[in-house]
Subunit: 111 residues, 2 copies
DNA sequence: TGTTAGTGTGAGTATATAATCACATTACAA
DNA sequence: TTGTAATGTGATTATATACTCACACTAACA
């Protein structure tokens, strides 16, 4: 628990929190297929434009998303495919936890 | 953006948030080597016992951690190694973002 | 039974995050 | 220059999270 660890944990926490919101996950999922503008994302997800804009800004600040301006529109994109890998890991962790639950229920193991 | 997606995003978000805190990341890192009791974790991390206990309870609720009682002590453990993979993904995403920054600074690309 | 150690939790406070509205900003086009 | 569309942001409110303190609970043991 030295200073370097502390800083690493802060960084990791920032990235994880940047993804830890249903709307932001929906955004990332939409960006899986390539860049999209704010308007487009808001409509696909079914959320307020300004709200989506805020979530996008947050992920951009953290470094998860990048932007490109084209006329009136601003296109957002994933800066690295690693993020998708991270989400896959989350899904896998969920499945593992559920499996562990089943085993615990069947075999009487501790939670 | 149907109901199933919504639910999946909620689940993913819960897992990501369960890990998105410096103290909780420190805990998980300590548990990499095997189960540990609350007291031990609190001392190693340098945080209040009650606070650590709360963080542990949170991760337990989400399904990331499991427990085992032995006398007075309660030992916490990772329920699945997937979680470590998730953290590695986060680290990789951070490195990628930093690399993208460097490239953007050098080549003048958009953020 | 009383004491002690390890853990969990209610209550209160502080802080952070989220959502919404109204409006500012930016870029384009008539 | 005036108008319009897409986006960003200040201000407000609501909600969630984090931390601390005090105390309750549980298991062991004298």
């Amino acid at each position: 628990m030295n200073a370097a660890c502390h800083e690493r944990y802060d960084l990791q926490a920032r990235v994880l929190n940047a993804l830890g919101h249903p709307i932001r996950l929906a955004i990332v999922e939409q960006l899986r297929g390539g860049e999209r503008c704010v308007c487009d994302l808001a409509e696909r997800i079914g959320a307020e434009r300004s709200n989506v804009s805020r979530h996008l800004a947050l992920m951009r600040r953290v470094g998860v998303l990048g932007t490109r301006r084209e006329g009136l529109q601003v296109f957002y994109r994933l800066r690295t495919p690693c993020v998708l890998g991270l989400l896959d890991c989350a899904t896998e962790a969920i499945r593992s936890a559920i499996d562990a639950d089943s085993r615990a229920l069947a075999g009487g193991e501790a939670g």
